[in-house]
């Protein structure tokens, strides 16, 4: 009797369902409709138009996409972005995993090391880049100063098209390796010590313990970091912008990344249609990446659980 009344009262609370949830959901729902759904629709529409912000958009069909396809600067920005995604993503994950493995044993010194590597993560991007622009200055920067004292060759760093992308990556990695390390450390803590003890009893070397215990159990987290790196680097903007705000992509477009070229089209050339087309292509690419991630996760992600 009491059970039925409790159940009916509970279902009365739940019965209102969507109506009851609506007030709680409304700020989020309004935000999604006005600040995501409508903008997305406009973006897709404008990608098929000629739009310069001052006069109403004019339908031009696929011409923006065709123009992009024949635009060498567009392909250059794609290549630049691909380059830093590949090198930056790989280097970030290797360095993050490496430092995590190095600092996996608890202790007072280790806590200090971890904090020191994590600090750059709270340095604002603008401060970070301004400081590094000085460090990397070819004529009076710290890095060339150190190389000079060691009688090693000095470089032009951000001023030289050959090293500009790698210099930017240095800045980005300085600011992000700590975060990747923290994620890996948290994942390493989840691996039960028993697994290692069992492997040690079987006579497994440190390397084979890493290869057959740590690595498989970390694979979901590695996959996650790959996706985050893909998402971050494909929309990389702030670091490259602040490094040369007056001449985007300098020197000679060697750091002109996808988002930078998108910004330039929109707000420098006022080619909103072309920029919208770039945005749509970026969205499609992101969806493919996320879809691929879920597919991979479904197939391999459970190996570690």
């Amino acid at each position: 009797m009491t059970q039925t009344s409790a159940r009916s009262r509970r279902s009365a609370v739940r019965g209102r369902g969507v109506l009851a949830a609506l007030p709680f959901l409304s700020p989020w729902a309004v935000g999604v409709i006005c600040l995501v759904a409508i903008p997305l629709g406009l973006c897709v529409y404008w990608s098929f138009t000629n739009y310069n912000l001052l006069t109403p958009p004019q339908w031009t069909g696929m011409s923006n996409y065709r123009a992009l396809f024949h635009d060498p600067v567009f392909w250059l920005s794609v290549r630049n972005t691909f380059y830093i995604t590949l090198i930056g993503g790989t280097a970030g994950i290797l360095m993050g995993l490496g430092t995590a493995l190095l600092l996996n044993k608890p202790g007072r010194a280790v806590t200090f090391y971890r904090s020191a590597i994590f600090i750059p993560a709270v340095v604002p991007v603008v401060s970070m880049v301004i400081a590094w622009v000085w460090i990397l200055n070819p004529d009076y920067g710290l890095l060339n100063g150190v190389l000079h004292l060691l009688h090693l060759p000095t470089y032009g760093w951000l001023d030289d098209p050959a090293t500009a992308k790698l210099s930017l990556l240095m800045i980005i990695l300085w600011g992000s390796v700590g975060q990747i390390m923290i994620v890996f450390l948290a994942a390493l803590k989840e691996i039960p010590q028993d697994y290692y003890d069992a492997a040690a009893v079987d006579g497994a070397s440190a390397w084979s313990q890493f290869r057959h215990v740590t690595l498989p159990l970390l694979s979901p987290v590695i996959l996650y970091n790959v996706v985050i790196a893909l998402v971050f680097y494909t929309q990389m903007f702030e670091q490259a912008f602040v490094a040369s705000p007056l001449d985007l992509g300098a020197p000679v477009n060697s750091t002109l990344f996808y988002s930078l070229y998108l910004y330039q089209n929109a707000f420098t050339y006022l080619s909103m249609g072309k920029a919208a087309a770039m945005a749509c292509l970026l969205l499609v690419f992101s969806l493919l990446v996320v879809g691929g991630f879920f597919a991979l996760n479904r197939r391999y992600g459970h190996a570690g659980e």
Partner: protein, 308 residues
Amino acid sequence: MAVTTQETEARSGQAARAARDAAVRRWRGRLARIARHTAAVVIVVIFLVPLFWMLTGSLKSNADIFKFPPSLWPADPQWSNYPRALTYIPFWRYLGNSAIVSACTVLGTLVACVMAAYAFSIMRWRGREAMFAVSLGLILLPFPVVMIPLYVIFRHLGWIGSLTPLLVPPFGAQFVTPYFSSALAIFLLRQFFRSLPRSLIEAARLDGAGNWTVLRKVVIPLSRGPLITVVILTFLTSWTAFIGPLIFINNQSDFTLSLGLEQYQSSHFTAYNYLMAASLVFMIPTLILFVVAQRHLIRGVAFSGLKN
């Protein structure tokens, strides 16, 4: 007699070998530890040098900053660089703008995301999982995709030319940066709300509490840790945000510190000492948060990585 001598010799030989093995193992362990610490110290120095360089650079004289090879410590520390840098640009005005934007972002994110997370976890309704999948998907929405339409919409609304474009979206749970977003906050809170003991909520309901009361009296008091994490991450990312202010703010009097510093840099590319001084003052709140709330910060970062 002879047998015993042999035996004892063999035994002592065995003991010696065992002792030697143990010593080798101990030494190997010690060496490995030394190697680990050496590697760690080298890495830590590499990570700390840029911060040290900022600090000493902010105290260098105008002549000192162009010396090559550069000195690591200024011969004559110029503390006056600080007041000079902070009056050269309207620093306090920018700081005020950053404070307003960060306060609104934190408040809006808290209100909108706590409510949404409550609806996504404690309440039961048809379509909840599908809606939550939408919310989750927004974590990966690239900002460049929506930035142009948002700029045009805000322009039509007459918001461009004021701080409004940065103040309103957080209240619609749409605060987006490459590092943290409302969608991530909703996810973090929802995961925690789900782990709360169901019996407490049912008990409150049996006492006649409605959803608002349950949220205020039961859920929020039990969720202090995750709420603090969300506040800290939101503050940190909105205080340091760059791309949003860059697109939506075009009145110099509305500049946030990120924008103000960037503009200062692009007009005085080599005023390194003043740039470092201003950058460091800009960083003070984030460094304080790092020292005071490192645990929350690390928990937030680690959480976002383990969510899959």
